[in-house]
Symmetry: C2
Subunit: 493 residues, 2 copies
């Protein structure tokens, strides 16, 4: 997988105009100051004319989110080049009670990195330098604005990879990945960012530079502060530097694409794959038949193995092609002979591997072509994993054009989608909070890998017990007494 | 490795009387109340007569630490059976300003889990129940007092393992492992506890039960609070329940024991092992010749491959014996022919694997047999890893009986030991803070996997920059306003 160039996730067509978030969701502006000429002069003196954006048409791409669900009305984007500048910006904003919205690649899908009102956008795009790589230990230190795909290409030249791979990798930035605790495809193999991030440098709301840098796998000297910033979506601080443990690039990759009759067989195949593929299993992804129909309608992409109720994409990556193939083929032969899988194909060459991964990864690009798609990113314990899709199908009836599900089954992470002709608040209310309450009943998570952002923040009380919600609020007040950092996000607005 | 019964690390001989910590280190008692009859009556009513310990001889094993470096004078041990009791104990202690010392298996080596003065000891030993195991996903939920080895034996019967393995596993408890962010041998393969712990239940100083439980690999709903308790050594809360991701038990294990001429060849072998063994590499441990001489003197254990300046223990664990052996033997043949390694032996049967692991793991049992050993647990970037041992050798000259080093080289974690005839403050002062300052210069960590506890707390300012030290203090005040939780630990006393 590591050396593949998959299709980049392009920004969606700009033909659909996104309504202002503040109107669509009836949000009340917080008690912040309005930007005036003296503020702008300060930023102009600090950054120079070329690193502040105030032109309306240039601001558009920073004000509208990736899935075109949210739209802010920020009049100012700042582009710092180093930590000291980030510190000075935040110190000034805190002293002047100006709200800010830190922004990486702007590829979030829950409105976490776009402004809601006129927050000043701090874009990290110019902080994109690799600082150091130790290629014996595989430890990379870089600025937070590095684009994930660029980092991965740099590492591949040293036979290493980033332990993280997302559809948005061509645009998303490592600092944004850290701030949202991004998941993705490699999590099954390499674990989450809490395990892989070794150190962070973060600037808090008052402009204090918080040095939580370490480049050591084992370092137990005091509280493990960096974890507070991983996944707090820019509400506790702005990540400026990242140290990350990078595993060796696997020498060989195999991908199997399988058709199955029902979901019980999907689960059985997962158990068997864990047992038989063991340490070389690197992805275990599921698609339902409706996802495949969606892909066919939008992109004329068809299943290479005929039509089936479910499809699995199993990837191995390892150090010895012959060993990996033996393990994978041995498993598939057994599964076929036991009728656990109905049909399948295996790819070992790059072109075919790409085309199979494309089936799994192209779907989100179709979301805004001629309909509106409600996108949910949930975790559901495996015994209820697909049941929740069926429940939503039956709840929506003919009110939805289609309900479909796909996702990282190996991590119990499901992307559940509901397509309708046009967005309506009524449809949203039919889906939410019903879906989120149901997920909670099943001990799942209403946000597996995308965070709370703006869109899910109001359901925080559903996701978290009151004790931890109370602690979150105390931490927010402690780190950001004026509440200037990414307001209206994570917490209910 | 997973199915091996290694020698348990027994408590050291009790013949040496440990001086009281408060006298040895001249500590000032904090402003806490003294235990009186009314307090004892409260605890007696809550727990009953059998779950409080006040008898002096029974108190001994709770008051003295594993390495016999620290001794408290607690007059009361409480043994709660459930979270509600822990909550009531802490609430009462907080209201009455009584200091407490939470204690798991009391196997810490930096005096983190033994009292310094008369702190009430909360022993978690009766909270040892497994609550749930999902054997498809491998997610275990248990009380925090479960002994690591018991958990592992339970999991092995389901073809799973705990992603954690320590010399102290026969006594240490999972809650203590979490509270100290314990490292150990499996870290190289499965990563650290921040990556593997999915959820925690914790009681804070005021008795509030903090529910940070989740049994999901992907859950991004708000701040990731549990990480604050991982590695904070019982100073922010008492861990009562743990949810942990458990990997499948590897079907096959191989162990190679190698002799090498110099440390450059050790590093070269590490690079090659990462490349060639890839996903099946599960341990990469180093011992120097002095460690081997120590083992011979204390236990009459000899190297099975003759004498060499350095020894490596390389373990593979995987799903296919033939594949794993091919990879390992292929690597060793190349290394031998290139004279990178001088000699070696490979074990595939359990008895021989055990005896090889025993060489690496028996050393700490000899520390108190007839000399005093200063034990340091440090991380050092690999290019300086063994240089630091040579520096300490040359600094100590004939003031030390021997200086030796061994450790988890794959994680850059070195156990550096200095043996002397008897403990003296003068020798300690020759070693510290020189060693810790040198480690800091090399961008290492003064505590890789054992924490700060009491013994290293005073060097916190060396280990952490002022910004993060300041934040630690603010967090401590927020969680524990009266400072009753494990005082004199982590922070300088």
């Amino acid at each position: 997988m590591n050396n593949l160039k998959r299709l980049p996730l392009a920004f969606f067509k700009r033909s659909i105009t996104t309504e202002f978030t503040k109107n669509k969701f009836k949000v009340q502006r917080g008690n912040y100051n309005y930007l005036d000429e003296s503020h702008i002069n300060f930023f102009r003196d600090l950054l120079g004319e070329t690193r502040i954006i105030m032109d309306l048409s240039d601001l558009e791409k920073y004000n509208v989110d990736w899935f075109k669900q949210c739209r802010g009305s920020s009049g100012l984007v700042l582009k710092p080049k180093n930590t000291e500048e980030v510190s000075q910006i935040l110190n000034f904003c805190n002293n002047n009670r100006l709200a800010v919205c830190p922004q990486g690649g702007n590829t979030g899908v829950v409105g976490g990195c776009t402004p809601v009102f006129d927050e000043i956008i701090i874009s990290m795009e110019l902080m994109d330098k690799v600082i150091d790589l130790d290629d014996t230990s595989g430890i990379l230190v870089c600025q937070s604005g590095c684009i994930l795909q660029n980092l991965n290409e740099y590492l591949e030249s040293k036979n290493l990879i980033v332990p993280l791979d997302l559809g948005a990798k061509g645009s998303c930035q490592i600092g944004g990945n850290v701030s949202t605790n991004a998941g993705g495809i490699r999590l099954l193999r390499y674990g989450n960012l809490h395990g892989n991030i070794l150190g962070l440098e973060v600037v808090t709301a008052t402009g204090e530079i918080m040095n939580c840098m370490s480049t050591l796998k084992k370092d137990n000297t005091g509280y493990h502060l960096k974890h507070l910033f991983i996944g707090s979506e820019g509400t506790l601080g702005v990540v400026t530097k990242v140290a990350i443990q990078c595993p060796p690039k696997s020498k060989h990759v195999n991908v199997a694409f399988l058709g199955l009759e029902n979901f019980d067989k999907v689960l059985e195949t997962f158990k068997r794959a864990k047992q038989d593929l063991g340490e070389v299993l690197s992805a275990f992804e599921v698609l339902d038949s409706e996802t495949m129909r969606f892909n066919k309608d939008k992109f004329q992409i068809e299943s290479p193995i005929g039509n089936h109720p479910f499809y699995l994409l199993i990837e191995t990556s390892g150090s010895n092609q012959q060993h990996d193939s033996e393990k994978l083929n041995g498993l598939l032969e057994k599964l076929l002979s036991e009728k656990c899988i109905t049909n399948g194909t295996v790819a070992t060459d790059e072109a075919k591997i790409n085309s199979i991964w494309n089936i799994r990864e192209i779907t989100p690009q179709g979301y805004k072509m001629d309909e509106f798609v409600f996108c949910y990113d949930i975790s559901v314990p495996l015994n209820h994993y697909y049941g929740i899709v069926d429940e939503i199908k039956s709840r929506m009836g003919n009110k939805a054009k289609r309900v479909f599900g796909y996702g990282h089954l190996g991590d119990a992470n499901l992307h559940l989608q509901v397509a309708v002709n046009t967005y309506s608040q009524e449809t949203r209310e039919l889906l939410e909070p019903f879906l989120f309450e149901r997920v909670r009943e099943l001990n799942g998570s209403i946000s597996a890998e995308h965070g709370m952002g703006f869109l899910k923040g109001k359901y925080l009380g559903l996701a978290r017990p009151s004790s931890s919600l109370g602690l979150m609020k105390r931490l927010k007040r402690m780190f950001d007494p004026n509440g200037i950092l990414n307001p209206y996000k994570v917490f209910p607005y």
